[in-house]
């Protein structure tokens, strides 16, 4: 299958500061991709470029369209939640359903209502009377009822309490995601999305520093709790990073086979958060 998003050499400058500095990547259909990077690394700019909400240099194709010039057409197949709590305050639940049904050819009202029935939202409720979590529930109900090929989520759970956050991703996976859809998520809460991602992209200083599927990550990166007597041998294999927990050295290796490492100590697959910290070391001065 051909890629749903192809980006080559994306660049964008605000003054002399580069928000995107030659970022290139591909996203295949049917994946859940996490775009992860520190603040100011170009995450949001990348999403905005994909959604046609910002100007940039470079080649970008989303579903075969150029978001800069074909944005109106693109929005038939792309959906996004840009930030929490951006629904207009005067909007009622019923009006939101009516409007999206009226303008979106791929909106399934029954599905949205089914989802809303599980919440405390009432048809006549206005956004201004809702808690932050309820606004997200409404937005999610609208978005999940749209049969879009690409869903883009920018910090979708920012400011939500833990119950809503868990529920959000659970609903997304159970009720929405299938092999015809692609989800692109940026978030700071790496631990939260770790289990639902199929692919991972790290971004730093406007460049993609790592792009791999979760399976590849497991094969490529290994974490070893090094036995004290194996420290020299371990260091000889040039670990990416090293930290100490309970007096034991934990080293992260990139591209060293498990057979080679197995003698050094206990092996495990690193968490995305550990990988992120190790990869981003250079990004934080």
């Amino acid at each position: 299958m051909s890629a749903i998003i192809t980006a080559a050499n994306l660049s964008k400058h605000y003054g002399n500061k580069a928000a995107l500095d030659g970022a290139s990547f591909e996203i295949q259909p049917g994946r859940v991709v996490g775009l992860i990077g520190p603040n100011g690394s170009g995450k949001t700019t990348t999403l905005k470029a994909i959604l046609g909400l910002t100007r940039f240099d470079g080649a970008l194709s989303v579903l075969g369209l150029d978001p800069r010039t074909q944005r109106d057409q693109l929005m038939n197949d792309v959906c996004f939640i840009a930030d929490v709590a951006i629904l207009p305050r005067w909007l009622r639940v019923r009006e939101a359903l009516d409007f999206v049904q009226g303008v979106h050819p791929r909106f399934n009202r029954a599905k949205a209502e089914q989802y809303l029935a599980r919440t405390k939202l009432e048809p006549n409720m206005r956004v201004k009377a809702m808690s932050k979590g309820m606004v997200v529930q409404l937005h999610l109900a609208l978005v999940m009822a749209i049969d879009a090929r690409l869903l883009v989520l920018d910090e979708p759970t920012l400011g939500l309490d833990i119950l809503y956050r868990k529920q959000f991703y659970q609903n997304l996976l159970e009720d929405y995601f299938d092999e015809n859809k692609t989800i692109l998520i940026t978030t700071h809460q790496i631990e939260e999305v770790e289990n639902i991602l199929t692919d991972l992209m790290f971004i730093a200083d406007g460049k993609i520093t790592l792009a791999a599927s979760m399976d590849e990550l497991g094969q490529r990166f290994t974490e070893v709790m090094v036995e004290p007597n194996q420290l020299n041998a371990a260091n000889a294999l040039r670990p990416m990073s090293q930290r100490t927990v309970f007096g034991k050295a934990i080293m992260l290796f990139d591209g060293v086979s498990r057979a080679q490492l197995s003698g050094l100590g206990e092996l495990r697959t690193p968490s995305v958060a550990d990988l992120f910290v190790a990869t981003m070391k250079g990004a934080y001065p």
Binding site: K48, M75, I86, L87, P88, L91, E95
Partner: protein, 315 residues
């Protein structure tokens, strides 16, 4: 077309308060005042101990009915003045409010183009809001006419029948609706300007919309005096500044064309309030070149508003 229908509805949901309830409330207040005045007037006549009985018949009655049916819409004049204020502030917020609360990101996540969005807002300002006001004004005027008929009946003159039979009653209503296209065309430069400012300004929209043209014309006036330059700042004031700020005022077209010698308005001399005469004169103002220059400028400014909404980046 379906999308446009929903965009218009969307605007009505958001602005029901100012577009419907505000004129309806004012109309209700005017209706109550009229009733109260008629009722109080009756009281006085009773207390005055001489029950006034004025019976009008024949020619004078005919004249009375004719005048009433031709001018009764004038009782809604406050509503039409209010319309200009409502439209003015509606336009200022139309492309700014959703940027301020960032809900623009929600609207832009739906398959609705910025052209459609801006057109729907212009349609509200130029057609929908005036139509709502006309409908409410018609109800109010008919109510006040009814009150007048009742008061006269209490004094012994029964005019309800002749009034209802008079074709003028219906013609006046149609004449007011007939002014809508004239209004839309003359209001277009103002609506275009206000929507443009609304989509450009980051804050203080009112200040930008009103301050910019006023400051510019003052500057020109000063430059003209100081450097003895020969550009006619008075002309600019009238043909640009007034047009982009006052166009939403119903009837402002007479103001805009009064100095225009190319257009000879056949203003009815006696019945200045006769709606039929006003309608004819209003349509005649469209014969001036400046009317159509304004329309062109208005469309250009709307196009500018669309372009800015599409290409501006929200933080």
């Amino acid at each position: 077309m379906n999308t446009m229908k929903w965009l218009i509805r969307r605007e009505l949901w958001e602005h029901k308060g100012s577009l419907v309830w505000a004129p309806a409330t004012v109309a209700g207040a005017l209706a109550s005042l009229a009733t109260l005045a008629a009722f109080a007037g009756r009281q006085i006549s009773i207390n005055g101990d001489i029950p006034q009985s004025v019976v009008v018949t024949g020619g004078p009655l005919e004249h009375l009915v004719q005048t009433l049916t031709q001018t009764y819409m004038a009782s809604s004049l406050p509503l039409f003045l209010m319309l200009s204020v409502l439209v003015f502030f509606y336009c200022l917020g139309a492309l700014h409010d959703d940027r301020r609360d960032r809900s623009i990101l929600f609207w832009q996540s739906l398959p609705v183009s910025d052209l459609q969005t801006v057109l729907s807002k212009a349609a509200i300002a130029l057609l929908v809001a005036p139509l709502i006001t006309i409908a409410i004004a018609l109800l109010l005027s008919l109510f006040i006419l009814l009150v007048i008929c009742l008061v006269m009946a209490l004094h012994g003159t029964h005019i309800a029948g002749p009034v209802l039979m008079s074709p003028g009653l219906y013609r006046s209503a149609f004449n007011v609706i007939g002014m809508l296209p004239v209004y839309a065309l003359w209001a277009l430069p103002t609506v275009g300007w206000l929507l443009l400012v609304s989509s450009v300004a980051r804050s203080k929209v009112f200040l930008w919309a009103v301050g910019t043209p006023l400051a510019a014309s003052l500057l020109m006036l000063w430059a003209e005096r100081f450097f003895q330059l020969d550009f006619n700042s008075g002309w600019i004031m009238q043909h640009v500044v007034e047009r982009i700020l006052l166009g939403v005022l119903p009837g402002a077209w007479f103001l805009f064309t009064s100095a225009d010698e190319q257009v000879h308005l056949s203003m009815p001399d006696a019945g200045g309030l006769q709606v039929g005469g006003l309608l004819q004169a209003s349509w005649q103002t469209l014969g001036s070149a400046s009317a159509w220059l304004g329309v062109a400028a208005g469309i250009a400014m709307l196009a500018g508003a669309v372009w800015i909404r599409r290409h501006r980046e929200e933080g």
